[in-house]
Assembly symmetry: C2
Homo-oligomer: 227 residues x 2
């Protein structure tokens, strides 16, 4: 990173999108892209893109645009994707299995090193070459292995006692599907919560807004650049 | 809604969080809450909360705070959660099953009315009381039933031909887990994309930022109110 400024969280939250679009461009063999083209692809504005990418120093060149492989590498580095944090996953129900099978951990900075469940009928079963371990062994495992992060694919009520064990073993980073509010309990953890219901409610809002529009007094303050 | 102003998309994207926190307060029997308490719970600021909730008219009263059940009802109404849009789900692999089993459609504005898959070994199987239908019948089903939305729990490569069928039958609303970019293909659809990898990359960034901090020149522009 060319600049040592701390980047605002709203820019950070857009970085994974830049990563995705640049990866696609890169896989298609594109060597460069203009802020206008990138904006069109991402449903954003060219000025927003220039402003965001300026945070990481000057990759853009007037009249040339951005060097795709270079910008991709830089964004990957800023995201920390060249790291390999060791992660364990708790709960191999449908959600846990979907995560194990569909998420590309290795290219997103993580090694998935162990799976845990309490259900005796799945303990010992292999998923993606990893045996499911009994959650009763969670503390022993965490004390004898380097575990940086835990992916919580469990119901809310199952998380509290297990979070105590994990926290007691020094695990501070969580990818949390459980709806259990870890930050209310522990004040020095980093948690990314996934709330699928929030996304569905936003869809409901957008449908309702289209089907039953209200009288519009003023234009929306900003474009919805989500994608 | 007391005001007919169009609400900005960034406020809309925070509404599901208000919904969640107010639902919890309501379930715990709370009748009122101050903007300060709500801010503390949500990791936001009292002024942000007052500003957001002002968009929907004056529910707050100086010295009293907000009426919890009233504010909850109002936010539910704005989100359109009193509607029942008919939705079908495509792909009952682990992800599709996780969605069917864990998402509270009915309280989020949707009726899940049918499931589809192409795998003959699951066609006919019942999930949550619904038989999995053969995806070959998708067009017939959509033409003979009211289908508002489709939840796409399929791999990217499977989506394109099915999206043609759905679009041809008038389905315009999508909850999309597939990474297939529907808005590039159809310009009058509403799509909520779920990118689990984005959330994982953000976690990777936050771990890296904590473990390997860079020199900090200026404070972050905004607090991270995500939860």
């Amino acid at each position: 990173m060319s600049k040592n400024d701390k980047i605002s969280m709203s820019v950070i939250r857009r970085l994974p999108r830049y990563y995705r679009f640049l990866l696609e461009l890169k896989n298609n063999g594109a060597m460069r892209v203009s802020s206008r083209e990138l904006a069109e692809k991402m449903g954003s504005s060219a000025s927003q893109i220039r402003q965001d990418l300026n945070c990481f120093g000057g990759f853009g060149q007037q009249g040339y645009g951005y060097d795709v492989p270079k910008l991709f590498d830089e964004i990957s580095a800023i995201l920390g994707l060249d790291h390999r944090y060791n992660a364990i996953l708790l709960g191999v129900g449908n959600l846990g299995r979907a995560v194990v099978n569909h998420v590309a951990f290795e290219s997103r900075g993580f090694n998935l090193v162990a799976l845990f469940d309490k259900d005796p009928s799945v303990v010992g079963v292999e998923i993606k070459g990893m045996p499911v371990r009994n959650v009763a062994e969670l503390g022993d495992y965490c004390r004898s292995h380097q575990v940086d992060a835990a992916f919580l694919c469990l119901p809310r009520e199952s998380v509290e006692p297990l979070a105590e064990v994990l926290y007691g073993c020094g695990v501070r980073y969580y990818w949390n599907f459980s709806h259990f509010d870890l930050t209310m309990k522990f004040d020095d953890v980093i948690v990314e919560n996934v709330h699928l219901n929030d996304s569905l409610m936003t869809l409901c809002y957008r449908i309702t807004e289209e089907k039953y529009p209200m009288i519009e007094d003023k234009p929306s303050e900003e474009a919805d650049g989500e994608n």
